[in-house]
């Protein structure tokens, strides 16, 4: 079970949170102009690298805020968190 430092509430256990996927993820548009392969890319394809990745989390059972987490997918180390709207945190290798 991870311990995730919410930018507003401090470190809390993982069951309080919900995972929201990798960022940045830009929705292509407008819908009429988007090719099917671009939609497929947007909907289904994710990078899922081994190593550090930036992702969104929602503090469902807390402040209900979305925020950004830099997490290592191999070791589960959490390197940084930041509020939405702040500049994306740097990934330090």
């Amino acid at each position: 079970m991870l311990r995730i430092p919410c930018p507003w509430c401090g470190p809390r256990d993982e069951p309080e949170f919900r995972w929201g996927g990798e960022v940045p993820l830009v929705r292509p548009g407008p819908p009429q102009a988007v090719t099917e392969s671009a939609w497929a890319e947007y909907l289904f394809m994710r990078d899922n690298p081994k190593g550090l990745v930036r992702e969104r989390w929602l503090h469902t059972l807390g402040c209900r805020q979305w925020f950004i987490v830099v997490r290592n997918t191999a070791t589960h180390e959490i390197q940084a968190t930041s509020a939405l709207g702040d500049p994306l945190p740097e990934i330090r290798p």
Binding site: M1, L2, R3, E14, P15, W19, P31, Q32, V34, T35, E36, W39, A40, L43, F44, M45, R46, D47, N48, P49, K50, G51, T73, A74, T75, H76, I78
Partner: protein
């Protein structure tokens, strides 16, 4: 034979004024307070205490704690029934009713015993080949009934269970010399600590090994440390508590068993401990040697024989032979001899055993250096052992000269295996240390460090100094920086060891690698002949290292033999990963959080373990553990594996064979879903196309 022949007249950490009656397989016996079921059985002369899993061979006590592979029992009846306990870990209480499992009517007289005669027809994986025609499903009910150990209780569990949460600066796991020294240092530094030990008494191996620490007998030092820890306000000592899982971000799950004081007391307690720093002082488990007939009752680990003799005042036998490749067995031989047990000889596979052998010889114990075990005599009880001189390097016999030594207990010691299950579970890497003949932690993790035998330092003086240093460093990292005092020092003991896994091959007789699952050396050879070379495949094919004991005594030997058979070095073979919940924990305690929830116990228990594991168990959040190989991305991995791109939310569905469960996998729902959330136009077609295309 009367009970007195097996119980020593004096000594031991048992209370002789308090007699306890118990039953085993229907017969009444007596033991003392402080006994385990195993030591009480041994003291009553019960040599055959269990039957092996596959072939129903008679088996006796082999270990003295969690490593025990043979003596699996179930205790109680009706709603109180608890299956699949190791007799070595059951504390004796008055009225205990234990039965051996996997045999009928008793372990001594098992009607399935003739299965041994069919051993030749049942090599590793025979069920994959023999029950194929005409249809496996015809045989399945029968085979499933024949397999398995204890019987699960059918009535609801009447006991109470609890769970608690705890936070601390330093969590010390293990109450042996290293753990006590670590807890002492961290306590003195002023940290908030929790010390966890799974035995009823602190001290670990100090309870039966004889050492001098800080100028006093080891047990005096243990009780001094214990009282200092108990007096400290910020230190919690949890006894009878097993750390069974080490999860992300230093979450450690513990299972605390209560003493049986009253029927209404909480039976077991689940602890979730979140620690800033963890010190793993989990010790090491002695390793047997593989040689023909090494499963006959009476063959046991040297440390176990010493434990029974010293801690429980039980003679493991009347005449003992030791087979060893390491120095610690000499201490065991000395301890047995001092308690009136005849030590016939110490058979040391090393050609030049060193100082320990010299002092043993001086004390009058014959040492046969450069000899190896050729076979054990006896079927239901050990009657003797044949030894033969070994070539330099111990790979083959030097001559045909076979010497028989009569004995009724054979103590084996092939070195020690560090208990690194928790460390591996949390991602720690191991390396093979040939000078210690063991897999030891390669490097400590940032907040988890191993100390003492768990890190491969088997001598008591190193355990104390490493443990003390680990406790001090961990406490300092959490900001507790008070003076820790002087490192405890012990009179140095030898801990030399030479790698020796098995005697030269004898094709006429079976040599057992895994006692719990009846895996022989021949089974490993068969697996290699059938082209299973990965240790993970060999484990699953032969079942070496599975079941209740999870290969605590067998994994290392299986690994080394596999390396030999495939001509690789031990580090190249690698290891199997220890599974989550590294010591058995009951479903009742795992589901303690919601005792009356409307789900079945097993379901709740699995949910709880899933929660503890967090991300790893989650299907939504992906982790890269499955995808080795640098920055290989999931798409490439999928393409490489099955030639198809990865549909991330429907990937688990297999349309042809499995019922569709996810709403995403049904095309019309997918379309509706797409309509409602993403707007109508391209996606409708896309959903259809995507389904067809992928």
């Amino acid at each position: 034979m009367s009970a007195n022949a097996w119980r020593l007249d004096s000594g031991g950490r048992i209370d002789r004024t308090q007699r306890l009656s118990f039953r085993f397989d229907g017969s009444a016996y007596q033991g003392f307070a402080g006994d385990t079921l195993a030591s009480a059985l041994l003291a009553n002369g019960v040599r055959i205490a269990g039957r092996s899993f596959k072939l129903h061979r008679p088996r006796g006590l082999f270990g003295s704690w969690c490593e025990e592979p043979n003596t699996i029992v179930q205790i109680g009846r009706g709603a109180d029934l608890v299956p699949n306990l190791k007799a070595t870990q059951v504390e004796l209480f008055d009225g205990l009713d234990a039965r051996s499992v996997n045999c009928w009517p008793s372990a001594r007289l098992d009607v399935f015993a003739p299965l041994q005669l069919l051993a030749g027809l049942m090599p590793a994986g025979f069920y994959y080949k023999t029950f194929m025609w005409p249809n496996w499903h015809w045989f399945e009910p029968l085979v499933r009934r024949a397999a398995g150990l204890g019987v699960a209780p059918t009535l609801p569990d009447p006991d109470r269970y609890e769970e608690r949460y705890e936070h601390c600066d330093v969590l010390v796991i293990g109450g042996g010399p290293a753990g006590l020294a670590a807890a002492l240092a961290a306590t003195r530094a002023g940290a908030r600590i929790v010390l966890v030990d799974d035995r009823p008494v602190l001290g670990g191996a100090l309870q039966w090994e004889e050492h001098i620490i800080d100028g006093q007998p080891a047990l005096h030092w243990v009780s001094a440390v214990e009282s200092e820890l108990r007096a400290a306000a910020r230190t919690r000592v949890l006894q009878r508590t097993t750390a069974f899982g080490c999860y992300d971000h230093n979450l450690v799950a513990l299972c605390e068993r209560s003493e049986r004081t009253s029927p209404t007391a909480v039976r077991e307690r689940l602890w979730h401990v979140r620690a800033a720093q963890v010190v793993l002082a989990t010790g090491a488990i002695e390793r047997p040697v593989v040689f023909p007939n090494n499963d006959v009752p009476g063959v046991m680990l040297a440390s176990a024989a010493m434990n029974y003799a010293v801690q429980y005042a039980v003679r493991p036998g009347q005449r003992a032979v030791f087979v060893t490749s390491c120095d610690s067995a000499y201490d065991a031989a000395e301890a047995l001899r001092a308690r009136g047990i005849t030590v016939v000889a110490i058979v040391d596979v090393r050609g030049e055993p060193g100082d320990s052998a010299t002092s043993a010889a001086r004390a009058g114990i014959p040492v046969m250096a450069g000899y190896g075990p050729a076979r054990v005599h006896g079927a239901r009880v050990t009657r003797g052992i044949e030894v033969r001189p070994l070539e330099q390097g111990a790979k083959s016999w030097r001559s045909d000269h076979v010497q028989r030594l009569d004995c009724d207990v054979l103590c084996v010691s092939g070195g020690w295996t560090p208990s690194v299950h928790l460390f591996s579970q949390v991602g720690g890497r191991l390396r093979y240390a040939p000078e210690r003949a063991a897999l030891v932690p390669a490097a400590d993790l940032s907040t988890i460090r191993c100390a003492g035998s768990a890190s491969g330092s088997f001598a008591v003086q190193d355990c104390l100094s490493e443990g003390f240093a680990a406790g001090r460093e961990a406490a300092h990292l959490t900001g507790a920086a008070a003076e820790c005092g002087v490192t405890p020092a012990a009179l140095a003991k030898h801990a030399g060891v030479a790698p020796f896994w098995a005697s030269p091959r004898d094709r006429r007789r079976k040599a057992w690698v895994d006692l719990q699952n009846d895996v022989t050396r021949g089974d490993l050879e068969l697996a290699v002949r059938e082209n299973l070379h990965s240790i993970e495949h060999v484990k699953r094919y032969t079942t070496a290292g599975m079941a209740v004991d999870q290969g605590k005594t067998s994994n290392m030997n299986a690994l080394a033999l596999l390396a030999e058979l495939t001509g690789r070095r031990i580090p190249d073979v690698g290891t199997t990963d220890p599974r989550n919940v590294s010591r058995p924990a009951r479903w009742s305690v795992l589901s303690s959080a919601a005792p009356h929830a409307p789900r079945p116990l097993a379901h709740r228990a699995r949910r709880r373990v899933g929660r503890l594991r967090g991300l790893e168990a989650s299907r939504l959040v992906r982790c890269a553990r499955r995808f080795p190989g640098g920055a290989r991305q999931i798409r490439e991995a999928r393409r490489a594996d099955c030639g198809k791109p990865f549909r991330w939310f429907a990937a688990r569905q297999n349309r042809s064979t499995r019922p569709r469960r996810s709403r995403f996998s049904k095309p019309h729902v997918l379309q509706q879903h797409a309509h409602s959330r993403r707007g109508p136009s391209p996606l409708r077609h896309h959903a259809q196309r995507a389904r067809d295309h992928y």
